[in-house]
């Protein structure tokens, strides 16, 4: 099984983060875990590169963050999807679907 490389388009990473957070608040490490789970380990993100993307998304107001303790009592910064973030996720998913559809059609045509 070939894994998609970590060289993801930035916009795609944004969408993955939003998608991961759409099921509930997570800390950074948790987001990475969730992305791998949801993609059946097919997507492998370079873990560190998550953070610049995460901060950028936070500045756009799509997620908010708070320091808190997790289930094992460890301190971590948790991220929550905002309403603007939820809308953004819908927009990105829709445009992603269109792209996939378009590519699929082109492949059928050839």
């Amino acid at each position: 099984m070939t894994k998609a490389t970590a060289d993801l388009l930035q916009g795609t990473l944004d969408m993955l983060i939003l998608k991961a957070l759409s099921l509930g608040a997570l800390h950074g490490y948790g987001i990475i875990q969730r992305i791998q789970q949801m993609s059946d380990e097919m997507l492998n993100v370079e873990q560190g590169s998550l953070y610049p993307a995460l901060y950028r998304i936070e500045q756009r107001g799509w997620v908010s963050s708070d320091w808190d303790t997790n289930e094992t009592g460890r301190r971590a910064k948790f991220y929550t999807l905002t309403r603007a973030g939820r809308r953004q996720l819908e927009v990105e998913e829709a445009s992603w679907d269109r792209l996939v559809l378009a590519i699929a059609k082109m492949r059928e045509a050839s």
Binding site: H27, G28, Y29, E46, Q47, G48, S49, Y51, P52, Y55, R56, Q59, R60, G61, R74, R75, A76, K77
Partner: protein, 888 residues
Amino acid sequence: MRWLNVLSARLRALFHREAVIRDIDEELRLHIEMETEANISSGMPPDEARREALKAFGNQGRIKDVAYQVRGGGMLEALLQDIRYGARVLAKHKGFTLVAVLTLALGIGANTAIFSVVNELLLRPLPYREADRIVMLWEVNPNGMRNNTTSRSNFLGWRGQSTSFEGMAAFSDRRLGLTGAGGEPEEVSAQLATPELFQVLGVTPILGRTLTAEDGGPSPQAVAVLGYGLWQRRFGGDPAIVGKPITLNGMSFTVVGVLPENFQWHISTRSGTGKPAEIWVPLNMPTEGPGVYGRFLSVVARLKPGVSTEQAATELRTIHARLAQDNPERNTGWGAEAVPLREQFVGNVRPALLILLGAVALVLLIACANVANLLLSRAAAREKEIALRTALGASRMRVVRQLLTESVLLALLGSALGLLFAWWGIGALVSISPRDLINLEGVSINLTVLAWTLLVTLATGIIFGLVPALEATRLNLNDALKEGGKGMGGQGERSRRLRGALVVAEVALALVLLASAGLLIKSFIRLQTINTGFNTENVLTMVVRLPDGKYNEAPKMISFFRQAMERVRSLPGVREAGMVNFLPLYGGLGSATDFTVEGRPVPPPDRELTTSVRVADAGYFGAMGIPVLRGRNFADVEDREARHVVIISESLARLYFPGEDPLGKRISVNMFGEPRPTEIIGIVGDVRYDSLTDEARPTAYFPHPELTYPFMTLAVRTNGDPAEMAPAVRRELSAIDPDQPVSDVRTMNQVMADTVARPRFNTLLLGLFAGLATLLAAIGIFGVMNYSVTLRTRELGLRMALGARPGRVLLLILRQGLLLTLVGIAIGLAGAVALTRLMSSLLFGVNATDPLTFASIAVLLTVVSLIACYIPARRATRIDPMIALRYE
């Protein structure tokens, strides 16, 4: 709102830098810990677990950097760093900073001062409610002359038939004698107005009421509305003034209201007083009778919402055409126009203001070029510093940003000082401005002006900083870092050419300004040397206006003025004295009408003979130095009683009596109500009455008893200083009637000065800016040549060691400077030809591309430039070859 998030993040990063970094570190550390624990629990030994976790995380240093930048670190921090560093650099190079800041301050200060005037006159809202709906309505005479007053009859026609206006009011300025109320008798500027005036202008009184419809009409009430200034000055701000009587022109009026302090209403065009009114009384509005056709009314109207000025003007023209049909003999050939209020106020100063604004922009550009030059010279000295920064990893962008920060800092310092200059300059502007023509009292540095100055400052900093910054960062690292890679580095040739280009630009800009100033100066001289037809030396003038309540019959007026003239003539120090009803160039219009010549057929309505009409006495021509060319002056008896005689001007004789002798012919001027033939007894020289620049019009002079006026202007020719004679003349007048006020006491030289006040103002300012531009350009040329000599020290030393004579070295440097200057002059001339056309409306008697002016300016600038080159060139000849060759 995103920019707000970004900004707040940046500010947080700036002020809580440590906290942000700690936050990121902590988050990333915890991430790696979690991964490590996950690895351990999946069976890895701790060491390997941590190694794998770090590997999976990626390059921690880089990620932290990027993360920090995303979180707003960097930008503002770097800016602050640049500002601190820039301030240190500027503080260290005090000489450079001082010269640059001064140069910029002059440029920015001039811009701020002129912009504050533009802002006040052209941009600031007028102080009336919804002033953009207020328009002035005028007639246009058959010759196409605009802004003519209208008659009661036409005003009533306009008002009755139009639908474009919410309200329409007529008014006319008068001087009225105010007596009693515990003060000296004085003349006040009054406005006779229809009651709607206050509704049209949207003014609410602070006491009492304004005029009501019942106050106006054919026989108006004797009521008056006081302006705030008069109320304060004359009545001590009496809060119970409403209902009290005051005496105007000998008649009693009841005060009904007081207007607010900021209310001013003055349309200088066609004003009978030339001064803002201080008191308002109802204008009588008969609908029939002889008075309804005289054109003396100014009209102001308020457009209905949504109606444009053009629509209103179209309607007005239609109505006026109808009025011409109804009354062809009064209105044939006349048109009507609507002029927006702002246009009315400043339409005639706008071209001059825009040209001045352009001029100061050019001055600022020259200042920019100078500072850019300084920066370029300094860039060479900073080459190593910049190379080092680049070698240590600063990107070119980063270094350019740092240099630009320095430039903007410099510009800000310049603008701080410039604001001080501007503040001082505005004071000077206000004091030299022709007060009655342009009201600059309200000009100040307000927020709009400050905002504009800030904008100009930032633009300035970038304009003069960008090229030097790009130039300074375009360098060869190796050359620059090598010891001894001194000064010229790899950029010598380019930088030299760039500096040359800046000098060329400065010279070209200065030439454009000098040429414009030269043209204005030349037309000003032309204005001054116009033959007006009279002699202004040693003449005192003053206006005497008899109140009509007291002097209600012609004999009383004739007697007063005859006595006055006799008394004044007998004063020691008076050579000659006379009087006239409208003094030449007094600032308003005189009377003019049509006439017929006895024995000739009456011409059709559009081919009438027309003449200006003046009332004078025998002493007038002598006192004003107007020559009697043929025939004779008025005789003594003609100053006492009407003998039906008239004196005509040379141009009247030439125009209407070609090839004939007018003496002894009789003309009948349409001025007396009934035809009255008067015999031509003399011909006098032409006088320019209306303006300096308009040709003298044909004029007929009647003696005072023939055509009696209640106001006359005395003209007194003295042996000594005419101004010193004023008190004595006033004493003689009050000896006849102690209640009689005089006004407009001016020497004839002052009258002339007031006439040319506006062109003098324009000339003075543009001349000043051109001078400033030339000075800055000279400093620029000097700076570049001086620097060039420094760079060429070795070469010049070598030449001299090899036997070059000092004279040749001098020529070498002068030639280099001259070449740049000549190129600049050529470009400047082309620019001037294109641009001076814009100022043709300000010129008189000079073509906008006057070759003589352009040539003199070119020579002047060449000489200035040679002087600026001479000092460095002299320095070049004193180079000691031995020292120069050792100088490495």
